[in-house]
């Protein structure tokens, strides 16, 4: 566990905010009855409808609670998968440099970076091929260069240091060296990249929702709420609620970026 989360103590605030958001949203949703979710007109915030209703008469607070949980979980899973995949790929290609002769990773990164992701997503959405699974795969395919390039560089520079060379000389297996030497160091260096990755993925997700290619369920999502708010500016609570929802989803990642902004405490270091 220590290898993957070297900033354990500092990441506590992120974890707490994540659980808190989930808990509040679930509790909020539990308080609703199906009939209570509908109203006939876009209504401003009131005691009955805390954040008002949409033009279709749906309670915005219910939509927010549902879509925040969905988006947050989807984002967390996607970010984790993309991060682990890209860092692992970078470490493997950095440590076993010979692999680059067969699969030139830097060239592949350049090719991947030059493909317009949004266009691909819109085309897939147009043909109704966009669902959470395909989106996840596409994110893995297009977002891995963000961390892989850095982790490969770090691994390549670290593999020629004396402790690593000596460990190789002493017959310690490559897997052990990667696990004990490379993973902690590179994870520690790349954890600050997670919020950047999360924002990048979240932007893509929201833009797709905004354009009307939502795939996280049948009900409205955050992006579509913003789109509806933009179309109905006479009911500003819709747009403001949508933007507030976006901020809440990003809150754990914002806290993470603050908590890992400084160097993590070194393992076993003595304190005064």
């Amino acid at each position: 566990m220590k290898f993957f989360f070297p900033h354990q103590k500092r990441m506590r605030s992120t974890l707490i905010s994540f659980l808190l958001i989930n808990g509040v949203c679930l509790l909020w949703m539990a308080g609703f009855r199906e009939s209570g979710c509908l109203a006939f007109h876009p209504q401003p915030p009131s005691a009955a409808y805390l954040l008002g209703t949409t033009t279709n008469g749906f309670d915005i607070s219910f939509i927010l609670a549902k879509s925040i949980i969905q988006t947050l979980w989807f984002l967390t899973v996607t970010v984790s998968l993309v991060f682990f995949f890209s860092v692992t790929l970078g470490i493997v290609f950095g440590y076993f440099c010979r692999l680059n002769f067969w699969v030139p990773m830097l060239r592949i990164i350049e090719i991947v970076n030059s493909i317009p992701l949004l266009m691909v997503l819109v085309i897939l959405g147009y043909y109704h091929w966009l669902f959470w699974g395909s989106f996840l795969v596409l994110m893995l395919l297009f977002k891995w260069p963000l961390c892989a390039q850095v982790s490969q560089g770090l691994a390549m520079s670290y593999r020629v240091t004396m402790p690593v060379l000596l460990a190789q000389m002493n017959g310690i297996s490559d897997l052990s060296i990667i696990r004990r030497y490379f993973v902690p160091k590179i994870f520690k260096a790349l954890i600050p990249k997670v919020p950047t990755l999360a924002v990048s993925l979240f932007n893509t997700l929201t833009i797709m929702d905004f354009l009307g290619y939502s795939f996280l369920g049948s009900s409205m999502s955050l992006g579509s709420l913003v789109a509806e708010g933009k179309d109905n500016l006479y009911a500003p609570w819709i747009l403001l609620s949508g933007l507030g929802g976006l901020l809440i989803v990003l809150l754990p990642f914002i806290l993470l970026s603050f908590s890992v902004v400084s160097e993590g405490s070194k393992a076993g270091e003595r304190c005064q």
Partner: protein, 455 residues
């Protein structure tokens, strides 16, 4: 008669309280320690490994913040001056020559280069004289050596810079560890002159008896206080706590054989290590022995630029210059242990425990119980506290880290040849004796030792 100003101490440290906190338990290191150094005085600091010699230097220089202390440097009190002023005092009136755990990075190299260039501008003749005394052709070749040799070079550069400190406190933390003895005597002589000429005081942390003998007085750390070193304290303790049975059948296999190219034969004698032998060679051969062989064994490619001076290099019967196959390099890996200094063995981010776990994962001969028993036995032999295992390189003293580096090398049972680089560096006298004893006993077991040392 000395005037009042010259009687004021350069360093006046009183009532120093400092301690590390481990797992919320405070472990005091200094409890009311006091030290005064007067102008023209060199004070030697000797103590066992892990008692806080380097920590004391760091407390004086403000690298570590003491719980409480009354500190005065050149009559400027820490209590009465602002932070910025104190920083200026430290910058002008102190010079620190750190030990080997320091990272010799580019910025330090740049600093040494700038400082030496300033010295060359202002004291050219002195620098040229010093270079000749240190057996360099001229000042330029001394400067080249300082900037090209990352470890020893920068240490020498820092010492040369310390020699030109006009006033204040010079702190030398084990300064002559990997420098040749000739250089040590030249530099100490220069320091003696500087002590008479300028208003400086020297605090010299060292385990070396010659360096301590050069100092005007020596102090040690005892019961969390700094006390004058008495003969009792300096008395050598016998370190014989390790013995192995002698082998009945003696093996005289040649484990290491290096023959120089005829062009180089005049400068160096050939090196040969048989089973049960210990051979010492100068530290200047480190790049050839260590880098050349490691590179060859790991990549199975010979770096001719490093090994060009040799005509034959055999390790455990395998001629490296003829080329290595996977099988032969694997055999060398099994039978030879390379043991450089601790900061080369351990990574800064990995705790010692993780390193030993990694060693355990790589060897299949012993069970976990046997392996950890052996580790603790070795730790007991070298008097290393067991709690040290959970720490990492940067949080233990140089001596303790060196002991752990030795222990990890001595763990492997199938080893025939140990190639050690400056194995005594950072070790106190008792530990040096223990290491001598261990080497002696292992030699009885037909192990060979090739030690690269400054002396």
């Amino acid at each position: 008669m000395k005037n009042n100003a010259s009687l004021d101490p350069i360093l006046c440290l009183e009532d120093l309280h400092f301690g590390w906190r481990e797992k919320k338990i405070s472990a005091p290191l200094f409890d009311g320690a006091s030290l005064a150094i007067y102008p023209g005085e060199a004070v030697g600091l000797w103590a066992k490994n892990g008692t806080g010699k380097t920590t004391l230097c760091h407390c004086i220089l403000g690298i570590l913040k003491a719980k409480s202390s009354r500190l005065k440097i050149m009559n400027q009190s820490l209590m009465d001056t602002s932070k910025a002023e104190w920083r200026a005092v430290l910058k002008q009136a102190t010079f620190y020559c750190p030990g080997y755990t320091l990272n010799y990075d580019v910025s330090l190299k740049r600093y040494v280069k700038t400082e030496l260039q300033k010295i060359i501008k202002t004291h050219r003749n002195w620098f040229e004289d010093l270079a000749q005394k240190l057996d360099f052709r001229d000042g330029k070749s001394l400067l080249t050596y300082v900037l090209c040799k990352s470890g020893e070079g920068i240490r020498l550069g820092l010492l040369v810079r310390a020699l030109r400190q006009s006033a204040g406190l010079i702190i030398l933390d084990e300064p002559f560890e990997d420098l040749p003895p000739v250089w040590r005597s030249v530099i100490l002589e220069e320091f003696s002159r500087q002590l008479c000429r300028s208003r400086i005081g020297i605090l010299c942390v060292s385990h070396h008896p010659d360096v301590l003998a050069w100092c005007h007085r020596s102090v040690t750390i005892s019961d969390q206080k700094i006390v004058p070193m008495t003969l009792q304290g300096n008395k050598k303790e016998r370190g014989k706590n390790f013995a192995l049975p002698e082998r009945k059948t003696k093996n005289h296999q040649i484990l290491f054989c290096l023959e120089w190219h005829p062009m180089n034969k005049k400068n160096h004698p050939n090196i040969m290590v048989r089973a049960g032998e210990k051979r010492r060679i100068p530290l200047t051969l480190k790049p050839l022995i260590l880098d050349g062989i490691i590179q060859a064994v790991l990549t199975q490619k010979i770096d001719r630029s490093i090994l060009s001076q040799t005509s034959s290099l055999q390790i455990c019967g395998t001629d490296i210059l003829e080329g290595l196959t996977k099988a032969t390099s694997e055999e060398i890996r099994q039978h030879v242990v390379f043991l450089p200094q601790a900061h080369h063995v351990f990574s800064k981010d990995v705790s010692f425990l993780d390193y030993f776990k990694m060693l355990f994962e790589s060897q299949k001969e012993k069970s976990a119980e046997q392996f950890w028993k052996t580790v603790y036995d070795w730790m007991h032999i070298f008097s290393v506290p067991e709690t040290l295992l959970t720490r990492s390189l940067m949080s233990v003293s140089k001596g303790q880290a060196q002991k752990l580096a030795l222990i990890q090398g001595l763990l492997r049972a199938r080893t025939k040849l140990y190639i050690m680089v400056a194995p005594y560096s950072g070790l106190d006298q008792k530990s040096c004796e223990i290491l001598d004893c261990v080497v002696q006993e292992l030699c009885k077991q037909d192990k060979g030792f090739l030690m690269l040392e400054a002396e």
